[in-house]
Every structure is written in structure tokens, then in C-alpha cells.
Symmetry: C2
Subunit: 514 residues, 2 copies
């Protein structure tokens, strides 16, 4: 078991007071801690101070202290019996997604993950997306209800999570929360009203470090809650967490980090500078538009290969269950394979001769059957329409244009990027070869592509397991230059050029050969 | 109206956000404040953060900020409309006495006193003194009850105080509390149990700055509460406040500060060093032992003159009401005058020939009638017994011995002291001439004696009206060397020599001539 290099848990052996050495209990402990952590700035909470004299005597002045570094000082957050070294002292990393919330319980001494869990964001009950929730927050009691929903959801999850490893939630002394700007606001109970109204101003960019008790999270009420800062209404703490996790902010080489979704958020940079932007890519990349589109799950098509000679489809589904639908990475595979098999042209139009009997007109729109009804898990054909492909092409063109624009803004070309991080589930499932083939991602060596997985949770974990997590997230936030994407003539020209497979300028995609 | 030099209230004119300047509300405000108060360390409370966006818009980004300096950072505690410059932004200084609590409401912008009030400490209901209360605190629910009593008492007083000037208590943004170590503990809800048990350890020497809401004081819940630190169980924050108020900690010349009571607390020092001690002087100096003794009030004898030739008594009472009793300063005057009139000898024994018909034996003990029944306000003789005088002499001898011991400990003599501060009501009423005559205070020029009045309240006021009040109180506390008074042979020798009027060594009291 490797001890990580964080100062959160300090074992302190005090000399009990005597007539000659009569410093008060709190001052005695803090003075010892000052020497240990080499800081003069340690505060103690009144609630802990009340318990301190009895606890110090009970444990004969041999204690473990949980200390936490705020922005401007250290805080003594808890003390435990030094003799009890078996019960973990825990931290909780939270990826606070609009749709899904993921929790990771961490041992604050070893840095080891104790257990993880996830649940659907219960705010979905009042609105599936940010916009609906912000409107709901404006109703009477709406904000309180949204705050309560997420906190109650978290509390249920924490109770279950702790139960699985028989840990008292009071042993959780630190939290790190990464979420988009709206979710972060709702978590704190801040009114998100102005986030969606010009000029789109959050209540706060750098949230204060708060006590768990102050937001209602049922762990140790004095547990400090680190909340990732945001750049603005549309570039949230989840992305700052991603940057922290990807480490692009500390490398010499310039890298790019992309979080793909309805909104594509992109960061380009290195240890000297960071530039970020966010833009609408459309829901097609998430598999959201096709009638057969769905999020990843058992029976969902995640990989497709089409034999270029026989045009036979080889379909892979998650858990190899009968196919029920297709996810974002499956759609990209499908488009790439259709293109390589000559079944769609460079504009993405179905070529009837090559598609053969798979192509049928339904309601005046051409549809390509991906899985016939007798092989599907739904009993119906799974098909993709011309409109779906058109939509995918617009989305991938928007994505590529955003990547090209941000890279050009710092005088670089996409081919200059040494590493290309793709965040999220999408990043884990996507086949870079397919994404390159359709011209959604630039034609870099495929080993440049690094899926990051849940980088929001990864960043939150790092915030708890690094001594300088808070400084790092603040520094990353402050160093980012936010590029406002103006949909001007240049952008439109780039977009038009990208609306082909893989691109109008084939020289940009030398590896794609039909 | 002179503006004092405190930074607590800052008027900030912000540029409202635009698409080009889209910093969040809180960060916008804090950034402006950082420039104004020239500190990078400003935190904002979550409770205030929740209200911030709506308030900033309501007041069109023109606000007054109440900022408060903690030990390690600044805190944005409140914001008000910049256009409303008439309603005061207030602070509350509290002298938290065991017997009596005094409040002073202060305008935080001008430093001006708005209004004052006082009330009897309602904890008296469970115990008149510290010891009784600490024992009560150990009963089930006892500590909570004591905490609740003082907080409820304060809340009633605050409500009345604010009503007299029609101020909303929410406009009180800062508190400073000076009290002895036990009272300070009870105010915070800290268990005082170990204060009276060897080795006499308080829970805390330097209390954290807490929120009013956290201790239950009903002012603005975010108001910061500065609590004066203590040196130990028997040298409390009220004395640190006294040192702050007396300014002895910043003068070149060495001065002494005495707080006279059942316990005498003494500080000697200058800008380079401070030494302190506390010792039992006995209740006689407060008028507590004589049967006719009482605390100052209408009809209480505070001054006495005896014509050395006619031995006629000239008696002055408070508010010139018929005499009902005698207070501490009256007892000292009486003893000095009896001695100067030759009615008691150097050991304090009544001289029957000189006392004449005033002297009577009651219950085997000689009593001197100070006010005969036909002139008294009680209808009975007001008299002082030989035992009373003996007790006074022991008390004054103990007092003088403590003064001599602490001064000698730094290699000085009492005559080297340039200023002699006497704190409290006692200090305001006492006639230094009489105190010198009986040898309670050293024979310094009478203009060396400076009554300080309520120096605890004065110090608390300074803490709110100085930019560096908190640093000062911490620095004073840290600089004090506490002298443990050992009742050794030397102390006993000094005490024996001081048990005469004015002293065995008359050379120490050249101005006292019988």
C-alpha cells in the first residue's frame, strides 16, 4: 500500500498539558499541526472545537487530524483516534452530470479507490436538460426543489456506497465536485437564472470552498467541498476537471482535449497557454437524432464493419445482445463503413445501386436497413434515413470546423497537435479510424488519440489526492483564454468545406482512401 | 463627522457585465474589492453568494460591501445599496461580565457610538460565580442551558438596543466580545470543565472568528464575531481588551494596569514586553465583606472625610440619597480617614479613646458606627467591625504584594512605574490618595493614576474600530509572559510587611503623614 503525498491526514502525538505547560487544547493541537504541515494559517471550526477537549482526553492526546487546505488557509476538519488506523478516512469525488452522476469514494491516506457508483440525475424528473431546469428554477420553490433533488439523490447514493464497505459516512471529510456551470449552481443552491440570459453571467466563477453541512450533503458536516470553477456559463467545472486529469496544462507539447456532445467543448494548449471554446455540434454525434439512436447499453450497436466487396454488415452490440439501437460511436462507424463500401457518396447521399435492397423509401425519405427485423432485438427493422446521415454530416462538419478554428486561432494546424484527448464515454467507445474516415477528427496517427474516460470524475479524484488540487484548478481556470466562436464568413467557409466525406480538401486526410 | 480609518465598509461601483466582459457576479465584485482593499485573499459566504446576483442587479452594481478581516483572509460579509448612505452599518462591542454585560453599538463607518445598554448576566440564575456555573455546566444539559441563558440575554438586549435607534439588527455585521475565559467559553458553547481542574486548561486560547449565526446571536447571521483570546484559565480576554484599550503595549514608558476584584489581575509592560499575573486579593476591596458592603448604586457611600480635629464624619453617597451601605472605594476612603484621624492604629485596630461613642461591642466584636440609625437610609446603624478592617488590611496587603512581586520580577521597583491604570468601576470611583494612604497602591504622584473605566468594553470597541484589531489582540496575547505567583517565603515576607498602614517600611510611602 503506497502512501500518497497528500497532507490531509496527520498523526499528531501531543504532550498532555501540565501546570508548567498549560496551553489550551485547541492551541496545543494547532501548534503541533503548524509544525507538521509548515503553515501558520490553520483555523478550526467551532463545531469541532466544542468536541476537542473531550476527544483529546479520550484518546490521550494521540490523534489523527484531518486538515484541509482552503484557498487562503488550512482548516482542521476532524480528529480521530490515532490508535484506530484501520477505518478509512475517506474523500468523495463526484462527477455531477446533467444526466448521470458518478461517485467515487477514495481513501484519503492511500489515494486508493474504495468503491464507485452512479445514478441518474433525479432532476430529470423536472426537466431533461439544462434549459428546462433553469426555467423550472424560476418557478416558486423551483430552485429549492432542484437543489433538494440532487442533494437527496447524492445522499441516497452515499448511504448505499458507504453501506457496501461498512463505512460511516461521517468518515468522509472531503468532497470534490465537477459539473457544468448550471449543475454546479444547482448543487450549491445558486440561482442559475442569468446563465441563459444575455450576457450569460453565472453567479460565480470560482465557488468558495463550502462545508458539506452547508449544502446538505450527509457526510461529516464539516467536510470541505471543493467545487470546480468555471470559465463561464458554457464552459464548466467538468471541463476544468478534464484538463486537470488530462495533464495537458503541464506538458511541453501542445495537445487538444475534446468533450463531444450536443455541445462540443474543446481545449488546446500546453504548459504555457490554454485556449478553450465551446460550440454547438448538434446531437447527431451522440446518436441522438437517428430513430434508432440511443445511449450505450446492452444490445446497442457500438461497432459495424461492412465488407467492401460483399457489402455484408458485421455488427457488434454491447454485451452481444440482439441489436436494439445504435450509439454515437456506432453511427460514426456506420457512416465510415458506408462511405468506404461506396454505399454513400462524398456528400453522404445513399447510392441506390450499391445499397441494393437495403435501401427503401419510407414516408418519402430513403432509409437504409442496418439490421432487418428478423435479426433485431426489437422485432422491427433498425434503419438509418438520409436525413440522419445529413444530420451526422452537419454535426461532424461543425465539430471539425470548431477544431480547425481554435487551432488556427493560435497559428497552428491540426496536424501540429501531438496528442488528441477525447473525453467521456464517447471517447472510450469511438474508433478514431472511423472518426477520421468521415472527417470528424483530423487525420493524425491513430495512436495520437487517447480516450480519457470519465475525465470529470478523474479530475475530481485528483483534486482530492493532490496536495495542491485546489491551486491547480484555480490556476488552470485563470490561465484559460476563452475563444468566443463567431459564426462569421470564415467559419462558414470552413464549415462548408467540411461538409464532405472526409473533406473537400482531401490533402487534409491522406490516410482516407476509398 | 470624521471617517475612521477602518476598511470594513467599501463602496464599489462595478461595470455591469456585458458579452465582452462576462465575469461572474461574485468574481466581478471580489475582483473590485481586491483592488480596493489590496488583498488577494477574499472569501465570500455561500449564504451571501446565493443572494448576490439578484442584489447586484437590484442596486445596479453600485453597492457598499461589508468586508471583514479574519486571521488569514478577508470575508465579504454583506452588501447594501450604495444609494442608501443614511442607515448605519453597525458593529457591537460586548463586555461579557460574569455579573453584568455591557453592550455598545458602533457605527462601523464613523466609529461613533450609537447607543449603549447593560443587563445583569442571566446566568446568575444558575450560579452567581464562575465556579458555580462550571459545576452547573457539568450537569445534563447544563452547558446548553448556560449558553442559551447568555445568548438569550444578549438577544433581548440587542433587540431593545436596536429598537431605541430603529435599526434593523441585520445591519449589525461585526461583534467583538471581551470576557473572562469561562464566560468566553460559555458564550461559544465550549465546555469549561477543565478550566477549574488541574492543570487548568481552557478549550482554546485564541478562539476562532465565528459567525453570529453559529453562536445564535440574532444580528446578521454572517456577522463576524471577534472573541478576545485568553492567556489561560485565570487571565481572560477582558484583560487583553484592557491592555489594548490602555495602550500600555505600545508605549515606551513602563506602565502598570490593575483590574481590582476578588482576583486582582495585573499587567506591567511597555512596547517591548508585557508581564502579567493574577492573584487572590480577597473580596474586601470590592466592599464585599463588610456587613454594610454593597456594589455602587444610589445611597451607597462612595466618599468619606473625617475631620482630624473634631472626628466629625462627612459622608457622600451616590445620587446623595440617604446612606444604605458602602462600596469598595468608600471602604478604602473610610480606612484611610480612620487612620489619618488616629482612630485606627498602624495594624488597623480601633483605638477606643479616639473612636469614642462610635465604638461599640456587638456579639463580642468591636464595631464602629459610620452612620447612626437616625441618619441612615435603612433605619439601622451602618457600622464596620474590627473583622472587616482586618479583612481589608489583608486584601490591601495581598494587592500590594502582588504589585511589588510582579514589578520586582522584571527588576523594577513600583516607583519606576510612570503610569498606573486602574480598570473597571472600582478604578473610576477610587480615590488614589486614600488607596495610597492605606498602602494598597504605591506612593506615586496621584496624577500617575489613570482610571480606565470599562476597559473591557473599550478594548472591544477598539477591536471593531481599528483595521488591525484582531492582529493587535493576538499580538498582545502572544507577547505576554505569564508570571505564576508562588506563595513562597519571599512572597510571605512581603505580605507580612504590607499588613500595616501604610506599610512596615514607611520610606516607601513618604507622602503619607499622620
Amino acid at each position: 500500500m503506497i502512501e500518497i503525498n497528500t497532507p490531509w491526514v496527520q498523526t499528531v502525538a501531543l504532550n498532555p498539558p501540565t501546570l508548567q505547560d498549560n496551553t489550551a487544547d485547541a492551541d496545543r493541537l494547532i501548534s503541533a499541526l503548524k509544525a507538521t504541515i509548515q503553515s501558520d494559517m490553520i483555523d478550526v471550526d467551532l463545531a469541532l472545537l466544542k468536541k476537542l477537549p473531550a476527544l483529546l482526553r479520550k484518546w490521550e492526546y494521540q490523534v489523527r487530524c484531518i486538515v484541509f487546505k482552503d484557498r487562503h488557509r488550512w482548516l482542521l476538519t476532524g480528529i480521530t483516534d490515532a490508535a484506530d488506523a484501520t477505518t478509512p478516512i475517506a474523500g468523495l469525488a463526484i462527477d455531477l452530470g446533467t444526466t448521470r452522476v458518478v461517485l467515487r469514494l477514495i481513501d484519503l491516506i492511500t489515494g486508493r479507490t474504495l468503491v464507485e457508483s452512479a445514478f441518474d440525475n433525479p432532476q430529470d424528473a423536472v426537466g431533461p436538460d439544462i434549459l428546462a431546469r433553469i426555467h423550472f428554477a424560476e418557478q416558486d420553490g423551483g430552485l429549492d426543489r432542484l437543489h433538494e433533488l440532487i442533494i437527496t439523490g447524492l445522499n441516497h447514493a452515499i448511504t448505499s456506497l458507504c453501506a457496501t464497505i461498512k463505512l460511516n459516512p461521517q468518515r468522509i471529510y472531503a468532497l470534490a465536485v465537477a459539473g457544468n456551470t448550471t449543475m454546479t449552481h444547482l448543487f450549491m443552491g445558486l440561482n442559475p437564472r442569468w446563465i441563459i440570459r444575455e450576457p450569460y453571467i453565472p453567479a460565480v466563477n470560482k465557488p468558495p470552498v463550502v462545508k458539506a453541512g452547508a449544502v446538505g450533503v450527509r457526510v461529516n458536516p464539516l467536510a470541505r467541498v471543493l467545487i470546480f470553477p468555471n470559465i463561464g456559463s458554457y464552459f464548466g467545472g467538468d471541463l476544468i476537471a478534464g484538463i486537470l486529469y488530462s495533464e495537458i496544462y503541464k506538458n511541453e507539447e501542445t495537445a487538444i482535449l475534446v468533450d463531444v456532445g450536443t455541445n462540443a467543448e474543446v481545449v488546446v494548449g500546453n504548459k504555457n497557454w490554454l485556449i478553450a471554446c465551446a460550440g454547438a455540434a448538434g446531437p447527431a454525434l451522440e446518436g441522438g437524432v437517428t430513430r434508432m439512436g440511443m445511449t450505450a447499453g446492452p444490445g446497442v450497436i457500438d461497432k459495424i464493419a461492412i465488407d467492401p466487396d460483399t457489402r455484408e454488415f458485421k455488427i457488434h452490440t454491447i454485451e452481444e445482445k440482439p441489436p436494439r439501437g445504435i450509439c454515437g460511436s456506432g453511427v460514426i462507424d456506420l457512416a465510415a463503413q458506408l462511405y468506404l463500401a461506396g454505399m454513400i457518396d462524398i456528400r453522404g447521399k445513399f447510392l441506390p445501386a450499391q445499397c441494393g435492397s437495403r435501401l427503401n423509401e419510407i414516408d418519402g425519405l430513403m432509409h437504409l436497413t442496418v439490421v432487418p427485423s428478423d435479426q433485431s432485438g426489437t422485432g422491427s427493422d433498425l434503419s438509418i434515413s438520409q436525413a440522419d446521415v445529413d444530420s451526422l454530416i452537419r454535426s461532424k462538419a461543425a465539430m471539425y470546423t470548431i477544431l480547425e478554428t481554435i487551432t488556427a486561432s493560435v497559428g497552428m494546424a491540426l496536424k501540429d497537435l501531438k496528442r488528441f484527448y477525447v473525453a467521456g464515454t464517447f471517447g472510450s467507445f469511438i474508433d478514431p479510424r472511423s472518426a477520421i474516415t468521415i472527417g470528424m477528427l483530423p487525420d493524425l496517427p491513430t495512436d495520437s488519440y487517447k480516450p480519457l474516460g470519465n475525465s470529470s470524475l478523474g479530475g475530481a479524484t485528483l483534486a482530492l489526492t493532490s496536495a495542491d488540487g485546489l491551486e491547480k484548478m484555480d490556476r488552470i481556470r485563470d490561465r484559460i483564454t476563452y475563444l468566443e466562436l463567431n459564426v462569421n464568413q470564415e467559419f462558414m467557409n470552413r464549415f462548408s468545406a467540411a461538409k464532405f466525406l472526409p473533406h473537400t480538401n482531401l490533402a487534409l486526410f491522406p490516410s482516407v482512401k476509398v
